[in-house]
Symmetry: C2
Subunit: 204 residues, 2 copies
DNA sequence: TCCATAATGTGAGGAAAGCTCACAAACTAT
DNA sequence: ATAGTTTGTGAGCTTTCCTCACATTATGGA
């Protein structure tokens, strides 16, 4: 179904200054986005703000979209770190504390820069570049976490299925709450309701 | 926060052929998207496939994004119709049947053309053009539906808050399931789990 | 029916954005 | 020092978005 021809390979940064160039480009996108808005994020402006030439940008990114994809990758890695940390910090905590901590951590991580996150969601098509989805990346860890707490779960349930649904609930609801802040509902209340919903599902 | 200047107003189609032109433009987008992929959807190609001149496109749409916004609006109206129909058809049905019917109808509506839906999600920024969000548009109707079934709900809950969370659960989870089809989970099972999760939350 | 006015349709081409390429500079290794 | 590799440059080519001056078609009153 992919109608885009295979992109020609680009150089991988090897020396320090090359990595600094790539970093400067990614940071420039964020700065332009926050200071001038989405429409100002053009390739030439990115190069200008990053303090490099437009040619350098295309040394490391095959096209404009790839720049957003790299930022997206960064975001995914951050979320993965947040989840891993939370799981470790709560290895022996009961189910409700773990779910609460997870929802809290994920929402906080997304609140840090909602504008950037919106841009990434809109510019990076899902499943692009062979990157695994949230569900695929976290399935194993969540399966382990739930297995260890099977006493607190309803018996006789297919854990794989439960993990899949919980994963989607966490991702979808956290995104939803951050992206469209409730008109009158404080964020803390929204978090609590998400936790309540997840626990209700797992115990039902 | 909107950095985009106010668009100059465009002509409203008044005669029949004008409405046909607008329709042809919107249909052209869908055809190009499905036959040639996202990248082929350029304004000039839209005009070509629609069989009108590029000038005509800009008679009715201030810019390219507005074309996607119009398609998005169409989609929203379809979903609203689907929800209204389902609510009416289930006025006297118990809560579980209603939730099941809603999830079924919404997922089916989104499965009809997932490629188009992905394009719209990626091209139309949320809250654009003064269009209300899913939550805002459906709040009243869902509030009514839940009020009428308060016997089946846990007592002493803030209905406004419940509606908000259920709304987000429906929107997020239906989108999530359609957009990233489970690797091994059949769609029917995923639907059932969404229903289970919503009911578990409402009854908890 | 004819004409004035409004609505609709046209497409060459201007403006701006994405991106390339031939070349220069900086670094590494021998 | 020298050869080879990596990194950096920016004028300008290509493509896309979009405008505008003008042509065509419809409408409504005399």
């Amino acid at each position: 179904m992919s109608r885009r021809p295979v992109e020609p390979p680009r150089r991988q940064p090897q020396q320090l200054r090359a990595r600094q160039t790539v970093d400067a480009i990614l940071e420039a996108v964020i700065r332009i986005l926050k200071r001038e808005g989405t429409d100002a994020v053009t390739t030439n402006r990115i190069a200008e703000i990053a303090g490099v030439s437009i040619g350098s940008v295309y040394q490391y990114f095959p096209d404009k979209r790839a720049i957003f994809a790299a930022l997206h990758q960064r975001h995914l890695e951050e979320i993965d770190r947040v989840i891993e940390t939370t799981l470790i910090q709560n290895v022996s905590a009961p189910l409700d504390r773990l779910v609460c901590a997870l929802v809290d951590a994920i929402i906080d991580a997304h609140c840090a820069d909602p504008e950037l996150h919106d841009l990434l969601l809109s510019q990076v098509p899902p499943h692009s570049g062979g990157s695994k989805s949230f569900a695929e990346r976290t399935h194993g860890a969540f399966l382990l976490a739930l297995s260890a707490r099977s006493r607190e779960l309803k018996k006789g349930r297919d854990l794989d299925k439960s993990v899949f649904v919980v994963t989607h609930m966490i991702e979808s609801l956290c995104h939803g709450v951050v992206r469209q802040r409730p008109p009158r509902l404080p964020l803390a209340d929204a978090k609590a309701e998400i936790v309540r919903a997840i626990l209700a599902y797992l115990r039902s």
